[in-house]
Amino acid sequence: MACFCFHVTIYHSTTKNHQVMTASQRELISSLKQDILQWEGFRAPAAGAKTAFGLGSIDHAFPNQVFPTGVVHEFISECPEQTSATGGFIGGLISVLLQNGGACIWVSYTRRIYPPALKRFGIEPDRIIFLDVPRQKDVLWATEEALKCEGVAAVICETQQLNFMESRRLQLAVEKSQVTGFIVRKSMKNINTTACTARWQVKPVRSQLRPGVPGVGHPRWHVELLKVKNGNPGSWTLEWRNQEFRLITEFKAAEQSRRYA
């Protein structure tokens, strides 16, 4: 049900009208908005159960100002470098999800993920169950089965193909079980429509250490939220430092000009 979009247009024909909107009307509208979110599969975060992912101002891009869990996120990756950056970003997210218990399942057909490296992103690598599916067509079946299981906290699936129908099945599975799914679409050529709640693209960018210090710094990514249901897409630069995300807001322009100089 949640995959149908309910378009409720609230008419503000004139500013005058807007001004006369009473407090009760505003209340009504906000409760209607909440209803729509609920129909679309979002659950309002229970009081005190807000999971802090440490994403800072990125949270404002999402409905209810909280990173949506219990939905399917889609990550687009064009090359192995982007897949690794995506892996790091997802690692940071699931380290928070796993704090509440539950299993984590990583489904893939051609897996390159190196478990010891996950330690750096706050995950005990032995907590993750890897499914190395020998047949490509079983990847989405296994993902769906895992997403249906309530004892699972997060499912990561590496796949190339995902059509609208398949993504809808996954979305329906998580609505019932409240498992968070991450679909990493590797070596993606053309983007198609899916029923996933959010679509991301994570690209690595040059790391920075203090001036004059040689070497490679902390992992730094350019995170783009290409699409999000009931939210506002945007793009940010994030860094993973001391087991948490740091939002980087600095002179990107200056850096770029130096590169092309």
């Binding site: 690794s84 390159r112 330690k119 032995d126 499914l131 895992a146 690595p204 070497g215 490679v216």
Partner: protein, 500 residues
């Protein structure tokens, strides 16, 4: 409950088998022979050959004299055991305890089994009919003791069903050959004029022992049930076994599913009553054409939930080939473990990785994608990157040591390092630029080297000097130089991983 045994005597085991394979031999005189000290001796003969008074141990030339047109085939040692094994497996549909009785018989412990076919008479008739239909000439007998059943099957003219407690009477009129005695003892008894067991059954045991040896007395006592005798069963019977006999042979998918469900319900109910859960289960089907097959499933934790077990079997149910029809299904649980009936946690926020739900999910997944493909990684005490994490299929296993985390490791590691064309300023410096898959990367930042020595006690080869490099686009790689720098060698740089 008194013990009941069936002895099946295959009168012409080998020749019947040959006639089944070559139907034109049926009803003709033919023998199996083996070479012995330069002549051919008859080892097995067909019913027709026996009609011409050919006997075992006769030379082939003699046999051909008395039986015109006698065909001779080479005998292969051990063939009868192979045949008996196959037949014994077929007989498992009658009782779980089947033992071989070389050279030409089978022994079945049928205690408590005969009611399945509606009584001992019907039971024996069913066995005889089915085996005769497939082409074997047999004589089955049923009695309280193995010895008595054996003797009656081979030597009695009638009364193949010895009633409970009637074995002593049945033995009375039988010749001593019914006691499974060696030939020299039989000759001795014959010379003394003891033509029936009844003639010496009342003699004092000491006398018999002195004259004929202790083996003869043992055989007599075993036949009388005064001495224990055990079968060596073909297959260890599983205590947790359920069987379902079909009134009519079934071959449709819903019928098979129904049978499986019924068996699972029964077995699970029994396991639940005893506080047990199964770890492996075998679902076996017996077809009316004598073939059978089995499906095996395994679970990650002991369970007695039939709906879950049904799902596990369901994934594999396509491989059941019913052929012309299945007449019997059995379900065994060879491996069971005590199951703790956990009280459900009301306050746990989310069940952990060892919860029942997750274990059941993984059972289902491994049923389809293979058991070895569901794994976790545990830290292993190695520095060599390929060996730092060792896979395990056990879900409950805890890591024995800490994860190594003092050095950055790439989030993606290639199974096999890929060679790159790299250029380094001076030997021990990171590369200034490298070409990977046709694309040139200019290195702007680098860390390293981190030398990792090869574990020479495991495999020979060069050490690796690893560098973390970052190119001008922000991509981070893990590259290494294999071995020491040497001017002539340009193919010693490899890319091994991608950092996040």
């Amino acid at each position: 409950m008194p013990k009941r045994y069936v002895s099946i005597w295959f009168r012409h085991l080998l020749t019947d088998w040959k006639a089944i394979r070559q139907p034109d031999l049926k009803g003709t005189a033919f023998v199996f022979a083996k070479r012995d000290r330069g002549r051919m001796l008859v080892t097995a003969l067909s019913a027709k050959a026996a009609h011409y008074d050919v006997t075992e141990g006769m030379t082939v030339t003699d046999a051909q004299m008395i039986a015109p047109g006698l065909q001779v085939f080479d005998d292969k040692p051990g063939r009868n055991i192979k045949l008996l094994n196959g037949l014994a497996e077929w007989c498992l549909r009658y009782t779980p305890y089947v033992a071989l009785d070389p050279p030409d018989g089978l022994l079945l412990d049928v205690t408590g089994c005969t009611h399945l076919k509606g009584g001992e008479k019907a039971y024996l008739q069913d066995i005889a009919k089915r085996l005769k239909e497939s082409g074997y000439d047999i004589r089955p007998a049923i009695a309280d003791t193995i010895g008595c059943a054996w003797g009656v099957a081979r030597c009695a003219n009638s009364g193949l069903i010895v009633p409970v407690g009637g074995h002593r009477n049945a033995l009375m009129s039988l010749p001593p050959a019914a006691l499974r005695l060696p030939l020299d003892t039989l000759v001795k008894l014959e010379n003394l004029g003891l033509y029936h067991i009844g003639s010496f059954i009342h003699s004092p045991k000491q006398t018999l022992r002195r004259r004929f040896g202790k083996d003869m007395v043992l055989r007599l006592l075993q036949a009388l049930g005064l001495e224990e005798e055990f079968l060596l069963p073909l297959k260890e019977a599983v205590p947790y076994t359920e069987r379902l006999e079909c009134l009519d042979p079934v071959s449709t998918r819903p019928a098979i599913e129904n049978a499986l469900e019924t068996l699972l319900d029964r077995l699970c109910k029994r396991l639940y009553g005893e506080g047990l859960g199964l770890r492996t289960a075998i679902f076996t089907w017996y077809r009316i054409d004598g073939k059978n097959g089995a499906l095996t499933i395994g679970t990650n934790h002991p369970t007695h939930r039939s709906s879950h077990l049904f799902k596990l079997f369901f994934i594999k149910l396509d491989t059941v080939a019913p052929g012309t029809g299945i007449e019997l299904f059995t379900l065994e649980a060879p491996k069971t473990e005590a199951v703790a009936d956990k009280q459900s946690d009301l306050w746990a926020p989310k069940p952990g990785a060892d919860s029942e739900e997750v274990a059941e999910l993984l059972d289902r997944l491994s049923g389809r994608i293979g058991n070895g493909n569901v794994k976790r990684y545990l830290p292993d005490e190695h520095y060599w990157p390929e060996r730092t994490a060792s896979p395990t299929t056990e879900l409950q296993k805890k890591p024995a040591s800490e994860w190594f985390s003092d050095r950055p490791r790439p989030i993606q590691l290639l199974d096999k390092p890929e060679p790159i064309d790299a250029m380094a300023q001076i030997p021990d410096h990171p590369p200034k630029q490298f070409t990977y898959r046709g694309k040139q990367h200019i290195v702007v930042n680098a860390d390293g080297p981190e030398r990792i020595e090869r574990e020479w006690w495991l495999e020979p080869g060069e050490h690796r000097d690893y560098y973390i490099v970052e190119d001008d686009e922000g991509n981070r790689y893990w590259v290494f130089r294999s071995g020491h720098y040497s001017a002539g060698n340009t193919r010693h740089w490899f890319l091994h991983g991608f950092f996040a």
